[in-house]
Amino acid sequence: MSAVIDNHHADHAHGPAKGPMRWVLTTNHKDIGSMYLWFSFAMFLLGGTMAMVIRAELFQPGLQLVAPEFFNQMTTMHGLIMVFGAVMPAFVGLANWMIPMMIGAPDMALPRMNNFSFWLLPAAFGLLVSTLFMDGGGPNFGWTFYAPLSTTYAPPSVTFFIFAIHLAGISSIMGAINIVATIINLRAPGMTLMKMPLFVWTWLITAFLLIAVMPVLAGVVTMMLMDIHFGTSFFSAAGGGDPVMFQHIFWFFGHPEVYIMILPAFGAVSMIIPAFARKPLFGYTSMVYATAAIAFLSFVVWAHHMFTVGIPLTGELFFMYATLLIAVPTGVKVFNWVSTMFRGSLTFEAPMLFAIAFVILFTIGGFSGLMLAIAPADFQYHDTYFVVAHFHYVLVPGAIFGIFASAYYWLPKWTGFMYDEVLAKTHFWMSFVGMNLAFFPMHFIGLAGMPRRIPDYNMMFANFNMVSSVGAFMFGATQLLFLFIVIKCIRGGPKASAKPWDGAEGLEWTVPSPAPYHTFSTPPDVK
């Protein structure tokens, strides 16, 4: 891809700057989107490597490869890196690339802030990963960092962890403000709210969730910082503080956070399924309302993560009912996707395969979520591998398959070339089999009674743990194939037309492939 000199208006339009400073100083939404996506993939491989360490240790009972203190650092860092470093930045990257092109805007509304919010991320994660090499090791208290394990009992590096979370949080808040400002202000004439593509809608709602809850996360880590260094006792019972308050504040952030990781995937899948079913999305309006309803409910269910902490009966009942209620709008979405496919004219290219797997496997994760919502049954499920199975089913074939589907769907637009369909389908099937092999047996070992976050276990859990590890290695190795497919696609391949998918809809398909460095300098007219 040589620098593109814009073929019209050569007097004011220009291509990217030359040399590495292009990437440091860029304010172009496509450059920043690409950097977000590459950063996210690097973090995905790093967090994945840590998952491989975890699964290798759990391959057999007994302690084989790593000491328990290092094992705890691996589970903690795997969670933190995947949530804050891989999934969230991937969706911000997709938003950067696609939202301006979907609404007919020339760029993001706040391009300089956009650059800053990206460049905070390498700083945040450089800091976070560096704690592994510090005296006493990195964070070892789980990605949920419950106090007082993360305060009084934490390794000294916890201060760096707190600072890293602050940086990543500032980055997310700025990214979210930018997305809201772009969607509210820069839509092309005629693009009313209810004409916006669903990816734009779900991201708008996600951005509001981010703005609402990232400050809460910043607050809770600041309180930890005060407890550790400034003699306060927010979470220390010995000083009159309250360790349960930590969990309330954390999950007030944490539950909306899980929807932050899944709503943009809902949006992307809602665009991909109609494209390959060659049929309009069923129930566009109800999709928008269902997303808003899920976002609203996500603020009133946080204590379902805390059914065993001893909240009063009435509280327990409230959070059980509210959680069950989320199944209704989520069900509406699933039914809409299935109805979109019903009586369509289906083809099964890689984006569609990932999207279909998304619907099926996310629904299975939703089912186990429904089971977990039943408070009395949750006393048996809570903090076992059943929970690990549940959230990996909503996050891996949910968020991550959503990202893969999006990447394959829009790669031709980004690179100007078609990716290798055979390799992409191989990537899909290996990921599909590996992922189910890794995570489905976790339901069984959880129900049989294996707690999460333990490096060693009784022999009665051995068989399924071994199956799970084999699946995890398969899933992990397969992701290198994805890297190869993307690089191959950037370097060449069959030329992609402006609209390579015959059922695809939207403004992004009206510009050439690859998308020129500047698109929609003059807003298009939307009918």
Partner: protein
């Protein structure tokens, strides 16, 4: 390369074969041995079958479309994109199913929360990394440590059938009686779980949580700590032994007698050897998980005792830190956990083990004097 791979695969199939002998392919939750655990199991199965039914319908339609409505079969796409009555139907029907599910769940939950009118009360306290059981009003109080050896964990010895799920002293409860657990923690958050009783409650410093059970059958029921509590989280099992009421009464009487004899020990004249011998046992159960069996600790979180300045030169400081703990660090106040005899023994042990060789002895009387002085 291929040779390594096949050797690895061979090893894999061997270990699969050898492990199937003892391991199981358990796929479901235990029914348990109490009325509550039975109703929890029934809730679990009900919601599971509801999910299966919904799954069959939704995925059925989906696979039907994927098979019948393929472009390669010449399917022509329909144009519809909404249908109000269908959309209302699939909002209302799930709502009704959920209400149907919430009713029995609420009943069970109300039952679980009713810990009143208990026959036996046990205070369960979590520590890094063991449990303490105190029978309220009975003067019986002991720690329960994992009994699995480090050799089994490091694969140097054959693993027993209750690997990681066995303790030196289990919690003993009578069958047929309502036993109330008051659950708390002395350091970080733990969670006390026995699957067969369907009891799981977090042990939180500064809070006392309630749970209860009424076991119908005598037996040994095993569980584990289920809240990440640090390095040895995997190694703090919960074992409950349910005895008939007669056996329970005998056990309780024995425990009380033992406690009375222990209390007399502090007036005895101790020799260095006796204290060292007792101290070694106390050290192994109370101190070794952090400061390590060899006294070298895991700095900087858990400092070394071997060659430590305080251990070698500062008796008063040593007694003080063991009795009162070190605020703001992971070092707990053992004054509330151990008897004067055990405190004296373990301090003496630390001052003389691992080439510390101070030759100094701290007697139970010294501890008593220290306690009175503060």
């Amino acid at each position: 390369m291929l040779r390594y791979a096949s050797a690895w695969l061979g090893g894999l199939s061997l270990s699969v074969l050898s492990s199937t002998a003892s391991a199981e392919w358990t796929i479901n939750m235990t029914k348990g041995v109490t009325e509550v655990s039975h109703s929890v199991f029934n809730l679990h199965m009900t919601i599971f079958w509801i999910c299966v039914a919904i799954g069959v319908i939704v995925f059925g339609v989906m696979f039907w479309s994927m098979f019948m409505h393929r472009k390669s079969r010449g399917a022509v796409p329909a144009k519809f994109h909404e249908n109000l009555s269908v959309e209302i139907l699939w909002t209302v029907v799930p709502l009704i199913i959920l209400i149907g599910m919430a009713v029995p769940a609420t009943k069970t939950l109300i039952d679980i929360y009713d810990a009143d009118e208990s026959d036996v009360d046990v205070l369960v306290t979590g520590y890094q990394w063991r449990w303490q059981y105190s029978y309220l009003g009975e003067d019986v109080n002991f720690f329960s440590n994992m009994a699995t050896s480090r050799d089994e964990i490091s694969n140097a010895a054959e693993k027993g059938p209750n690997y990681l799920l066995e303790v030196d002293e289990p919690l003993v409860i009578p069958i047929g009686q309502k036993v109330r657990f008051l659950i708390t923690s002395a350091d970080v958050i733990h969670s006390w779980w026995v699957p067969a009783l369907a009891v799981k409650k977090d042990a939180i410093p500064g809070f006392i949580n309630e749970a209860w059970t009424r076991v119908e059958e005598p037996g040994i029921y095993r569980g584990q700590c289920t809240e990440l509590c640090g390095r040895e989280h995997a190694f703090m099992p919960v074992v409950v032994e349910a005895k008939t009421q007669e056996d329970y009464a005998i056990w309780l009487a024995e425990k009380k007698e033992l406690a009375a004899r222990e209390a007399e020990l502090k007036d005895k004249d101790w020799t260095l050897e006796e204290l060292m011998e007792r101290g070694e046992r106390v050290y192994a159960s109370a101190c070794a998980s952090c400061h390590q069996p060899n006294g070298e600790g895991v700095p900087p979180m858990f400092p070394a005792l071997k060659g430590s300045d305080m251990v070698l030169n500062d008796v008063a400081g040593h007694i003080s830190i063991v009795v009162n703990g070190s605020p703001g660090t992971a070092m707990p106040a053992f004054g509330r956990q151990l008897s004067e005899v055990d405190l004296a023994a373990v301090i003496t042990y630390e001052r003389n083990a691992w080439e510390n060789n101070t030759g100094e002895m701290v007697s139970p009387l010294d501890i008593l004097e220290f306690n009175e002085g503060q």
